[in-house]
Amino acid sequence: MDFRDSQRPVSRHELFFKLYGNCQNRLYVFLYMMVHNENDAEDLLQETVTSLWERFDKFRPDSNFTAWAMTIARRKAINFLKKNARSRPHLSDGFYQQIADLEIEEDDLSERAEALKHCLQRLREIDRRLLLMRYERNISMVKIAEIFGRSTNGIYHTMSRIHSVLQQCIHRLLTTGHSG
């Protein structure tokens, strides 16, 4: 149900969270691509939503909330990268500029999630388990290597292979409708 169709008055809080809820996945994905680190992306998302709320009084209901939110997220990411350029791996400015100019569509994420679901089921159980440990459980690659009694290099090799296979499968599914 669209809140604008409702007859009851909508509070400022409700409006904000409806709008924010619609775009926060895109904000996170964008920030993750920009700063290429999960924790930093989470922190920046936190800062972004705080700024959005603090400035929400100035937001015009007929304007594009997502575009406004992306502008703020972009600014925060660029400032973060400038401030921390020496203390973390830093790619060239041209790279960050290209990412900053990207448009991320909700439909793109939804379709990708659907494809991801399908392709994960095609992976071997052990490969699914590795992904789960790394991304759900937040276990470092070094720790995963310890758990499996393998070298860190070996686990990186395996994880790279899994990502490649997953990505090829998703790409096929999104472009041809078949995972092959």
Binding site: F17, G21, V29, L116, K117, E136, S160
Partner: protein
């Protein structure tokens, strides 16, 4: 078009970048690839989108179970909460309960769930639902095995159909399991282990969640299983990497006791007005039916934290009390006080017993104690008669000083109290009691404990240290002179601690000897280098520190 190998290599570079472990050379290589090829740039973006979707799956799943558990969203919004009106709940006073304080004040530690938060949680959850639907492949199917019963002690299930044995797989969405008596250890598939004490009613909900309707549960959650959840009728505990106990009483109120790490406590049923708190080690909370959270004292020994079915040990976080071992116990309070061992003969007997024929010297040979499995043997040390053997394996106390080879009293758990004569005190504390156990030793005597036997009885534990206080007991100045004694702690015959020329004027000293898996025998010695008088010493609160093995 990129080959499989090129894609593989690019994935590897991206993973190294994300983890922050990339070298300067490889960072430069990655940058070059990305800037020179649109296809590589697209690959990077797709890789990161996939990772982000994988990463956020668990948060979405938690959010669907209870919006209040979406802590990341809550945290983000709580920052701006300062300006939002809160829903204030009345503070209630209880007159005679054990609760030390009401924690429902609007302090920094205890946040109200404001309207803002509720909207946040509910609406953001709603916004996630689309993707959640796509990702429902992770939602457990109707019934599947999610945990394994890995150990049990004296178990009786309420229904014969629930007679699970060690090795049984437990399914979710089955029905409420009723443990009438005994204790079980259950390992959930995602890594959390719980100890459930009967009587208890519970359900394994998924590989990372259980519902506790009543009873006591202790949870040990390794870092990689973070997020393990225990739901009770009026609260939910979400682990953040920790050890904690949950007790649900007959009236369905709950207590949460944190022993290590931290967890998020969400009070209230799903959909109702809720409040939450992060609880840290040493803190405990009660959740009432009203959803109020109250601070309560942590009960260190209120939960069984480990079980060893072979020996029937139910471990509540204690360490091995060596005085209890001397009393014939396993070190967990099942031994007998006022029992002693004759250091000359190795005989274990009730009572304290002074040595017959005081003027004669002892045999001064190592004697195995047959009756007590955790004690290897005893001896009367005298460096004049080397070698001074201190174990059945033949370990030798090379540095043992000369003594007169005599002793007065047996080595005892507890102490013969003859008011007006001796007081078993160190500082102001009287030892040798149930609350303050101690090993009382008279110069010259020694006792050796068998660490390997302890490991055999407790295979799930690591013996990490010997800890104790040691010092001279007070004396009756009419009968005794304050002659000094020496204290020694040996491991496999090697001196690991010594405290020499100790009189009643010296403050007691803390003994802390670390142990490794290779250490086999622990020996405690008290001796006197001068002519024998009544010289007692204490190893007070003597314990082997144990920790569950990972």
């Amino acid at each position: 078009m990129m080959t499989d190998q090129e894609q593989h290599e690019l994935s590897r570079l991206i993973l190294e970048l994300v983890d922050g472990y990339i070298s300067d050379e490889r960072l430069e290589l990655l940058d070059r690839r990305l800037m020179e090829s649109n296809e590589a740039m697209t690959f990077y973006c797709d890789h990161m989108k996939n990772a982000a979707l994988l990463k956020r799956r668990i948060q979405l799943y938690l959010a669907s179970a209870n919006p209040c558990q979406d802590t990341r969203v809550w945290k983000a919004l709580a920052i701006s909460e300062k300006t939002a009106p809160g829903i204030t709940l009345k503070r209630t006073k209880h007159h005679s309960d054990r609760f030390s304080d009401v924690v429902s004040d609007s302090t920094a530690k205890t946040s109200h769930i404001s309207k803002l938060f509720l909207y946040s949680a509910i609406l953001s959850t709603a916004a996630f639902m689309l993707i959640l639907t796509y990702l429902n492949y992770w939602a457990p199917p109707a019934t599947q095995s999610v945990a394994t019963l890995v150990d049990s002690v004296d178990v009786r299930w309420a229904l014969p159909s629930e007679a699970f044995n060690v090795g049984s797989r437990l399914k979710n969405r089955f029905h409420v399991l009723r443990l009438a008596e005994g204790v079980v250890k259950v390992a959930f598939d995602y890594g959390a282990e719980v100890i459930i004490e009967g009587p208890a009613e519970f359900e394994p909900e998924s590989a990372e969640k259980m519902i506790l309707h009543s009873g006591r549960v202790f949870a040990r959650v390794p870092g990689y299983a973070r997020g393990f959840t225990i739901q009770t009728p009026y609260s939910t505990v979400v682990d953040l990497g920790t050890e904690f106990g949950v007790y649900v009483a007959a009236d369905r109120t709950a207590e949460v006791h944190m022993f290590q790490g931290k967890a998020m406590l969400v009070a209230g049923t799903a959909g109702a007005s809720s409040r939450h708190q992060e609880i840290k080690a040493g803190q405990s909370r009660a959740v009432l039916q009203s959803g109020q959270i109250r601070e309560i004292p942590t009960q260190e020994n209120a939960f069984i934290r480990e079980i060893v079915s072979q020996s029937g040990v139910l471990w509540r976080g204690e360490h091995i009390d060596l005085a209890d071992v001397l009393g014939g116990g396993r070190g967990f309070g099942d031994g007998l006080r006022n029992y002693s061992i004759n250091p000359d003969t190795g005989q274990w007997q009730e009572g304290f017993h002074r040595r017959e024929g005081l003027s004669a010297t002892a045999q001064c040979s190592y004697v195995v104690v047959e009756e007590l499995s955790l004690i290897d043997g005893v001896f009367v040390p005298d460096g004049r008669r080397s070698p001074v053997v201190v174990s059945s394996r033949g370990d030798v106390f090379e540095e043992c000083p000369a003594t007169d080879g005599r002793y007065y009293w047996n080595i005892s758990n507890g102490f013969y109290i003859h008011e007006g004569h001796y007081r078993q005190t160190l500082g102001d504390v009287r030892y040798g009691t149930e609350d303050h156990p101690a090993i009382s030793m008279h110069a010259n005597s020694g006792i050796t404990f068998d660490l390997d036997r302890m490991r055999e009885e407790l295979p799930a534990f690591e013996l990490t240290a010997f800890r104790s206080l040691c010092g001279r007991t007070s004396i009756n100045p009419v009968l005794e002179t304050d002659e000094p004694v020496d204290f020694y702690v040996l491991v496999d015959g090697q001196v690991r601690f010594h405290f020499e020329n100790v009189t009643t004027q010296d403050d007691p000293r803390l003994v802390n000897v670390s142990l490794s898996d290779d250490d086999r025998f622990l020996t405690l010695v008290i001796l006197s280098r001068t002519k024998l008088n009544s010289r007692r010493g204490l190893f007070a609160l003597p314990e082997i520190v144990i920790d569950p093995r990972d």
